[in-house]
Symmetry: C2
Subunit: 250 residues, 2 copies
């Protein structure tokens, strides 16, 4: 492979209006999405990849760096380059601060119901499926010191999440996303949280131990896998008086 790039003599099928590093990055991304390297695994060394793709080391570094900034990969000096697992630090508890006591640790998880239901219009739109399609619905509470802090409804598309249907609520671990990965092979790679204000209806208010009509923050989350497909829709309610969030502008 020469370094000459005169306007004639294109190399194979090149260039298609994209930089070489961008095309290499796209190819690497596709190989991750296709499952050639799984979450948590290392991809080949940059020198090996550079040789395999017939590009200079610096070009391969640029390609990998773009994927690191995109959140797909992470690098560790001396160890390697790894496919990022499920997102972390994404707990909806980050929007609330229930006093100083145990503020560092996440509330416990308590899955209350697991049931197959018809999606309905809103859920179907969020998950990109037909309104008549079946989905798995979880009812879940987040609890600290015996107090219910968050009330969650979670919808998961079927048959992707069928392995969870047979589980009894007590079999669910404290974190859902690792369960999605282990039981269903679903890696949650990105999530969009839509925050708004609401007042509690009688049912949710009772669960949270608050009066009906109490002010609440409502978080509607759509979560996506590596390929960008929606894999979870979730609606969470918490006491508005405990709502705290910091946004930075730069």
């Amino acid at each position: 492979m020469t370094s000459a790039r005169s306007s004639d003599a294109p190399r194979d099928t090149e260039p298609i209006g994209q930089a070489r590093w961008a095309r290499v990055a796209q190819s690497l991304r596709q190989r991750v999405v296709d499952g050639e390297w799984k979450a948590g695994e290392a991809i080949p060394a940059e020198s090996a990849l550079a040789h395999a793709y017939g590009v200079a080391l610096g070009t391969m570094r640029t390609a990998i760096q773009a994927l690191v900034e995109g959140g797909l990969l992470e690098r560790e000096q001396g160890r390697g380059t790894f496919v990022r697992g499920a997102i972390a630090g994404a707990s909806l508890a980050r929007f609330f601060r229930w006093g100083a006591v145990g503020a560092d640790e996440l509330p416990e998880s308590r899955v209350r119901k697991v049931r197959r239901v018809v999606a309905g219009e809103q859920v179907a739109r969020a998950l990109g499926i037909a309104p008549a399609a079946s989905v798995l619905r979880l009812a879940r509470h987040r609890v600290r010191a015996g107090r219910v802090l968050l009330h969650e409804s979670i919808w998961l598309p079927l048959p992707l999440f069928a392995p969870l249907e047979a589980l009894t609520p007590s079999k669910f671990g404290p974190l859902l996303y690792p369960m999605y990965a282990q039981r269903c092979g679903v890696t949650v790679h990105r999530a969009l949280d839509d925050l708004s204000f609401a007042t509690l209806d009688a049912r949710v208010a009772a669960a949270l131990g608050l009066p009906t009509g109490h002010p609440a923050i409502r978080v509607a989350r759509r979560a996506f896998d590596l390929a960008g497909r929606p894999v979870e829709y979730r609606i969470t309610f918490g006491d508005a008086n405990e709502f705290r969030y910091q946004a930075e502008v730069r």
Copy 2:
């Protein structure tokens, strides 16, 4: 300047546990903070800077890239590298969506009062000044179609903002940060918005045309200049029912 880097024969005062590009970046940042290149101006070409610092082009690119990612500079192919001006898209209106009508455009600004006051404890802590120090306090409404949407109280340290003290409210433009830059030489480079829930007291409720005790979102903003010094403290109230915010997790 040679490229040899054997463990003896250090070059001048080098290396201090930092990569060369990081030290170059720090030096460039300092020169911006010191005002050698002002907001909106171009800094010298990367080739000129690389020669002046005695480093390779790639090293200078890495240094500049770090400052671009840090939000201090921005690059444009064919034009140059520029010092970023005041932050944009930081309007507190982004936390609210008052229906579809005119949702794109920002509400008008209406400065109602400009007054010198004693800071007090909360404001002094936010601005990093003495509680007895004088500050300038602005009262401001954000209005659309005759309706007051946001109620704002703004505190600015003196004597830095003294040029604003003589202005009558009608002399204030629709955007404050450009005024800070033009009249006071202050570039707002970063802001932290702390969101929480509140109920409106009688005074603010009346201003917003809402009943006392109405649910509201309270945004407490601290804004910082290029050197990281706090230059503005602001508390904004808006109707909680109009609150909408989207957060992404990756």
